[in-house]
């Protein structure tokens, strides 16, 4: 990486800054933030010919200071802005916050609300993965793969719109349950749409996953071994593509996941192809979970325990809650000091944890393979920046 030049004035530099040695062979290339293959972030790659020698991700273009804002708003006012990092997976990113606040404030959730939450979270996971898949298609120059998931995604958005009233930013989960009950005969509509959705996503295998061009571009690129996956602390689909069987829904079940049969998809290869396949397999699993939850859900009952206005934490309390979001384990560390506002909220999303693998995977790859490796990390820059 960067080496310090041993001159006197380097000692006066602040510790964050280093002077770089210039090498004639190595070219530095900025990819992003205005680039179709980078999203909202910049990747500074050093290339030798066509091969990447070094990559340095530079996130923070969407850093909006959510954690600071959370300290001046009360527990309920925090809900809308804490879901904005991933608006197309808003239920899942809000889930750990809501679970944590329930612990801090000390309220119970009705049984039916737990099932409604699981259904909303799984529908939202499908919405997220479909968008991710659509962008992966664009990154690889496969326009049909943008159109198909982007169109099928609307099926799930329709269902969520029926439940919550909003297309993407639902603000549906609140401490104590969900905001409103699901509409009448939602179960039938949901079951029908989910079955049709499952039929649709099966066809992606023909056009995308069995496509020889896609296989040539993604197989054996960006290989992450299982030891490195653990060492780098990756999570979600990146971890499971490297052969580690870890899913928070199974290992530390929250709400009613304990009563549902959740199967974890694991692949051994650890290359970009495996990482792109795991989320697709997860969608089938989500459909299974939704069907089970619809069957087991109590047909009537309350979906919400009423909160006191302006709820306060009880004394000094500290919780760390995590759930499995579309990108991996999303953790939230909430500290309360008995005031209506949290003392500190730390969001540790899956994207930020997977970012560390990017420079590691890009080293030695061809520059043309960079989008294929980068987006296979299941990375959403807005969430990582918070």
């Amino acid at each position: 990486m960067t080496e310090q030049i041993p001159t006197d004035h380097t000692e006066q530099l602040p510790p964050g800054l280093q002077l770089e040695k210039v090498d004639d062979r190595i070219m530095t290339l900025n990819v992003g933030p205005q680039h179709p293959g980078s999203g909202h972030m910049r990747i500074i790659v050093k290339i030798d010919g066509d091969y990447i020698v070094d990559a340095d991700p530079d996130p923070g273009y969407v850093h909006r200071g959510e954690e600071k804002m959370a300290e001046v708003r009360n527990y309920l006012l925090n809900i809308p802005h804490l879901e904005r990092p991933v608006i197309h997976d808003s239920c899942n990113i809000l889930y750990p916050y809501v679970l944590g606040v329930e612990d801090i404030v000390g309220i119970e959730v009705p049984e039916r609300a737990k099932y409604v939450r699981v259904i909303a979270a799984e529908l939202n996971r499908c919405v997220y993965i479909q968008y991710w898949l659509a962008i992966y298609g664009i990154f690889l120059g496969h326009s049909t793969m943008f159109m198909w998931p982007a169109g099928d995604r609307e099926l799930m958005i329709d269902l969520l719109e029926k439940m919550t009233g909003a297309r993407v930013t639902h603000s549906y989960f609140i401490p104590g349950g969900v905001r409103n009950d699901i509409p009448a005969n939602f179960e039938d509509v949901c079951l029908r749409q989910v079955n049709y959705f499952e039929k649709r996503i099966k066809e992606y295998a023909d056009i995308f996953y069995d496509n020889p061009i896609l296989k040539a571009r993604t197989e054996d690129t960006g290989v992450l071994s299982s030891q490195d996956a653990i060492r780098l602390g990756t999570t979600g689909s990146v971890l499971r593509a490297s052969g580690i069987d870890y899913d928070v829904r199974v290992k530390e079940p929250y709400d009613v996941y304990e009563e549902l049969d959740v199967h974890t998809n694991v692949l051994k290869d650890g290359d970009s192809y495996a990482r792109s396949k795991i989320p697709w397999l997860d969608m089938f699993e989500s459909c299974n979970i939704i069907r089970q939850a619809l069957e087991k859900m109590p047909k009537s009952g309350s979906v919400r325990t009423k909160l006191r206005p302006n709820p306060k934490g009880v004394g000094n309390n500290e919780v760390y809650k995590r759930v499995e979001s579309g990108r991996g384990a999303a953790g939230m560390h909430i500290i309360s000091n008995g005031k209506p506002e949290p003392y500190r909220v730390k969001i540790s999303p899956g994207s930020f944890r997977n970012l560390i693998a990017l420079p590691y995977l890009l080293k030695g790859e061809k520059l043309g393979n960079m989008p294929a490796v980068y987006w296979s990390l299941n990375y959403w820059p807005v969430e990582a920046d918070r």
């Binding site: 954690e67 804002m69 119970e108 602390g233 530390e252 009423k306 309390n317 560390h333 003392y343 540790s348």
Partner: protein, 209 residues
């Protein structure tokens, strides 16, 4: 599922049965935890598996560590900053915790300290897969921060838990805690021309707040 799981489950149900009242009248949460070292709780209230885990660490580093809390699946250990590297190495070598999930800094202006909490998890051992060990340490805090050049410094755990690299970089810019031994203490999220104090300190105010 191991025997500990069934144990914790039953304790959860007991709590539910004992307090079926509405939330507003609920006297206290089932497990009141402590930010500061709490008085020792009665033995039977502590989950056995987690208790055994903290005991191993406390036995090794008698006075340098103290147990923050022992809850179901969550334990916390406060360490002096001189010993944090040794404790982390011990945890890495002797227990199945192998990666850090998050590193959160917490500012305490009254104590003139900044706390850094490492949340450690385990992928390799199935019994530990639901455990999160919070390892916390405190660095002195200065009224007028000068990130990197003042006394707010901690040893970096990057050589022990590789996954803390970006988290520590974030902690450096947000709280001004310089991590000694970190190879790459640069800005991560904030703009390059950020000249104010680190934004997540309590004396930094958002506009209009």
């Amino acid at each position: 599922m191991s025997s500990t799981d069934s144990q914790t489950n039953t304790s959860k149900e007991d709590n539910k049965e004992s307090s079926p009242k509405p939330a507003a009248e609920k006297p206290a949460p089932p497990k009141p935890a402590a930010e500061k070292p709490a008085p020792p709780k009665p033995e039977e209230a502590l989950p056995a598996f987690e208790k055994e885990l903290t005991d191993r660490i406390v036995n090794q580093f008698a006075d340098d560590v103290e147990v923050g809390y022992v809850k179901e699946n969550r334990t916390r250990i406060n360490v002096k900053k001189e010993k944090i590297l040794d404790v982390a190495k011990f945890i890495k070598d002797q227990t199945p915790f192998d990666h850090a999930e998050s590193v959160s800094g917490v500012d305490f202006p009254e104590d003139k300290e900044i706390e850094v909490v490492y949340h450690l998890g385990s992928y390799t051992d199935n019994r530990y897969s639901k455990q999160i060990l919070a390892l916390s340490t405190r660095a002195p805090r200065e009224e007028i921060p000068n990130p990197g050049n003042d006394s707010t410094k901690l040893p970096s755990l990057r050589d022990v838990f590789y996954s803390v690299e970006f988290h520590e970089r974030e902690c450096f810019e947000m709280f001004g805690v310089y991590f000694d031994g970190h190879p790459d203490n640069r800005r991560l999220l904030l703009p390059e021309d950020w000249a104010d104090i680190p934004p997540l300190r309590k004396d930094f105010r958002n506009k209009g707040r």
